[in-house]
């Protein structure tokens, strides 16, 4: 079941994951571009605009009725980001032929629909239709505004902005309100053409059908291209003193997010050791943070650490009472010191290793986690879960402590109740 990576054309990477265990197959076309404040808004709107229809099915209603008829084939467009790369994705998920009630061939029809969405939108006078554009701009602006609704993820976003101010990483995958508002049908069509002409592309096919046919169909639609390269991620030093930002809102619970940097990114020799350090510190229900901050001190319901190895960032997130904020921060930093000093038992190390290896082996049993696994590596890499298992098994306790020592605290973001709420 090993995945096969091919480079069938300049700037096109085709990843085939042969799999016949599922009732459905899936194809994703991902186009990679640098995450930039100037263009993020445009490329956030574009995939949603594209998945509204095709020249053959030009209205959203007609297009989606066709998908219903094809047993709930899903064709979705969405934007994501990894490290400092923004990714425009169009994906199709469809039933394998053997489940079609009328015996109709599914793959060929669905691949054509997917490619029509990407290459053959219903244009008017050479540009996207004004009404469609206005609707998608409105939806993206509403998504940007709604970032405030979920307090935990809002706090994480704010901490990332404080941590990486001025770096592309701080740019939201939706871009800014101002840039999105200023978009026009002409600008969007230019952006779409530029994307198809220059972006590195990863095509992922998960299924047991004719992979060559899928590959050739995409490559022929892309044609000859001059492909742009992606800039490397910015690795910056930590601030001289720990930056603090507090925001108040009409909330009951405080959000505490501690931002750290590490030089141990994907290519760094300690990168896999850092996975283990993260698991010991705050990645499992037997981690330092869970046991000491939650279970022993009863300070919170969640206290976890999350690692972004693309960018070299670790965040600790917790939700606590206002009176416990300082105590929780102190306790988290104390646990970080213990980790750096190598104050973990062999059993704690082995438990963390077991937990990571176990979840790595599970990755390929779900189409979506498999897709996520390869997707987050960018287009040049396709390291298998098994390769990482071997690497994690080889990590020593000294390497874990050394990886932990690369973690440097940069900033602390807190969201606390309004003054009014405190006296209430």
């Amino acid at each position: 079941m090993d995945p096969l990576v091919q480079m069938p054309a300049n700037g096109v990477s085709f990843l085939h994951i042969p799999d016949d265990r599922f009732t459905t197959a899936r194809i994703t076309v991902s186009l990679y571009l640098p995450l930039r404040e100037e263009t993020a808004g445009l490329y956030a709107v574009l995939p949603y605009l594209l998945r509204r229809g095709t020249r053959s099915f030009p209205t959203m209603t007609a297009f989606n009725r066709e998908l219903d008829r094809l047993y709930a084939t899903s064709i979705s467009g969405f934007v994501s980001s990894t490290g400092e790369t923004q990714i425009v994705n169009i994906t199709a998920g469809f039933l394998n032929d053997r489940y079609a009630l009328g015996g109709e061939p599914m793959a060929a029809q669905c691949v054509k629909l997917l490619l029509d969405v990407l290459f053959d939108p219903p244009l008017e006078n050479g540009v996207f239709r004004e009404a469609d554009v206005q609707q998608e701009i409105r939806c993206t602006l509403e998504s940007i505004a709604a970032e405030i609704n979920d307090k935990r993820s809002y706090a994480v976003q704010r901490c990332k902005r404080l941590l990486c101010a001025g770096e592309p990483y701080a740019v939201s995958k939706y871009g800014t309100k101002e840039r999105v508002e200023a978009l026009t049908p002409a600008a969007l069509v230019e952006g779409w053409k530029a994307l198809l002409a220059t972006a590195p592309v990863r095509v992922t096919y998960q299924g047991s059908g004719d992979a060559d046919a899928v590959r050739d169909a995409v490559v022929s639609r892309l044609g000859e291209r001059e492909v742009a390269s992606l800039p490397p991620v910015v690795i910056a030093p930590v601030k001289e003193t720990i930056a603090r930002e507090n925001e108040t809102m009409d909330v009951n619970q405080c959000q505490l997010v501690i931002g750290m940097r590490t030089e141990a990114t994907m290519e760094h020799p300690l990168s896999d050791a850092l996975r283990l350090a993260n698991a010991i510190f705050g990645g499992t229900p037997h981690s330092f943070l869970f046991r000491h901050v939650r279970e022993e001190q009863s300070l919170c319901y969640y206290c976890v650490s999350r690692l972004d190895r693309q960018k070299g960032i670790m965040l600790v997130e917790s939700g606590v009472e206002k009176a416990s904020l300082e105590k929780a921060e102190r306790e988290i930093l104390l646990q970080l010191d213990r980790l750096k000093n190598g104050e973990f038992t062999d059993e704690e190390l082995e438990n963390a290793r077991l937990s990571i290896v176990d979840s790595l082996i599970s990755v390929e049993d779900s189409a979506s986690t498999t897709a996520q696994w390869y997707f987050s590596q960018g287009i040049d890499r396709a390291r298998t879960p098994q390769e990482v298992v071997a690497a994690v098994r080889a990590v020593t306790r000294e390497q874990v402590a050394a990886a932990a020592q690369t973690l440097l605290v940069d900033c602390v973001y807190t969201l606390t109740p309004d003054a009014k709420e405190e006296t209430a």
Binding site: T61, A72, Q253, R294, S298, L299, E321, N351, D358, D365
Partner: protein, 424 residues
């Protein structure tokens, strides 16, 4: 041991074992999978706040089922998470309105982890001190819920719709109600509901019937037959409140429109449940005329969607999303429902939606977590595992028109809104 075998639409088989201990066990082996998933659940949730035990009528504080779920992880001599740490499994638990379930996923050491699961859930250990310790943790979980507008808008709706049924009470309870919980009350609940006759084990993935049976034989302790009074007060057809609103920090108003379904006995039939699913797609799917029209008017965005939600003695159709004018969305939805009640569903549209429903149901086999959850739900709803796939093939337009005409009436509808301060 009595057992039954079910052949699924995929050709795979599910075995149902009636274990002498009293437990029903569902085993779904998946060829080619490395990982496994197990759910050990009891027919007991937040709605079970009054019950009869040894002739005594007991009333317990709101939120106790969830509290019990947290506390069961601690046995007298150790913590279940510490035991799982040695197998590498990733464990968790959840409490819903009518079910509490303990679960784990793993790649290796399945039988060891299964033994831990079956063992710790059978060994309650509650003391003043351990019960006290959880107040801080669950207190923060409740605060987190209070700050979640998505959760508030849904729970407010259910409370507005239901006048008598205890589904109107929040699953986690309140900081005040959980303060009344004692070890004695937890034992009362435990010995009433955690009886193997009232429970199910559902496993899926890299498992065998023999392997599961071997662990069950070793670990399960025979339970006495149980008769539980599961009746709930009769719920009037009409909602309690047609409109409910809360002010919270959100970007644009969030809303849920709910229709309360009449439930004869405890559950709907398969055909009624599927008719509800199809109606939701008919009204909210991207292929629906209503969706296109609400989008054109700027009244909804991508977050608009429908959900069918049911449990012991309750069932509802939910329509939710974000809108600058939720009342206008409700008016449009009501008008479209009236039109469909008058004209019935278009025949061609019905066929498209039935194909779509069938396609969506087939996706439930793909993922071991979903498959095990589906088996557990089916069991608790007195349905055969995955029986609904066959029902979907034979569902008629008349089934759907009947639900549309008889259930979606105005007296059974309510609207819940969460809006920001400035709009209130």
């Amino acid at each position: 041991m009595k057992q039954q075998t079910f052949t699924l639409a995929t050709g795979e088989q599910v075995t149902r074992l009636f274990h002498p201990s009293g437990l029903t066990i569902l085993v779904y082996p998946k060829a080619g999978f490395r990982s496994s998933y197990a759910l050990f659940g009891t027919r007991y949730g937040s709605i079970d706040t009054t019950f009869v035990r040894d002739g005594r009528r007991i009333e317990v504080p709101e939120g106790i089922a969830h509290y019990l779920e947290h506390k069961l992880f601690e046995n007298e001599d150790c913590d279940a998470f510490d035991r799982y740490a040695k197998t590498g499994a990733s464990a968790n638990a959840f409490t819903s309105f009518d079910v509490t379930a303990y679960l784990f996923g793993c790649s290796d050491n399945f039988e060891d982890s299964l033994e831990i699961l079956l063992d710790f859930v059978q060994k309650p250990y509650f003391t003043e001190q351990t019960v006290q310790k959880e107040q801080g943790i669950i207190g923060q979980e409740i605060r987190m819920g209070e700050d979640s507008p998505d959760r508030r808008v849904l729970f407010n709706l259910i409370r507005a719709m239901y006048q008598k049924h205890p589904v109107r009470v929040d699953i986690a309870g309140t900081v005040e109600s959980i303060a009344q919980i004692t070890p004695e009350l937890l034992y009362d609940c435990y010995y009433t509901f955690y009886n193997l006759h009232n429970m199910v084990l559902a496993v899926c993935g890299n498992v065998t019937v023999e392997g599961v049976q071997k662990v069950a034989d070793r670990v399960l302790i025979d339970a006495k037959p149980l008769s539980l009074d599961m009746a709930f007060p009769e719920e009037p057809r009409a909602v309690g409140q047609a409109y409910v609103e809360q002010v919270m920090p959100v970007a644009a108003p969030l809303f849920y429109i709910g229709y309360k379904c009449p439930v004869e006995g405890l559950f709907l039939t398969d055909a009624q449940m599927l008719a509800c699913e199809l109606i939701l797609d008919l009204l909210t799917g991207h292929g629906s005329a209503l969706y296109a029209s609400l989008m054109d008017k700027g009244l909804i965005n991508d977050s608009f969607g429908g959900e069918f939600f049911e449990g012991r003695g309750f069932a509802m159709l939910l329509f939710g999303g974000e809108s600058r004018d939720p009342k206008a969305v409700q008016a449009a939805l009501t008008a479209e429902i009236a039109r469909l009640q008058r004209d019935g569903i278009d025949e061609a549209r019905f066929e498209e939606l039935r194909a779509s429903l069938y396609g969506r149901l087939l996706r439930r086999f793909n993922n071991i977590e979903n498959a095990a959850s589906t088996m557990m739900d089916d069991h608790f709803h007195d349905r055969d595992p995955f029986g609904f796939v066959e029902t979907a093939k034979t569902l008629t337009k008349a089934d759907v028109d009947a639900v549309l005409r008889e259930w979606l009436c105005e007296e059974a509808a309510a609207l819940s809104v969460v809006r920001g301060k400035e709009e209130a």
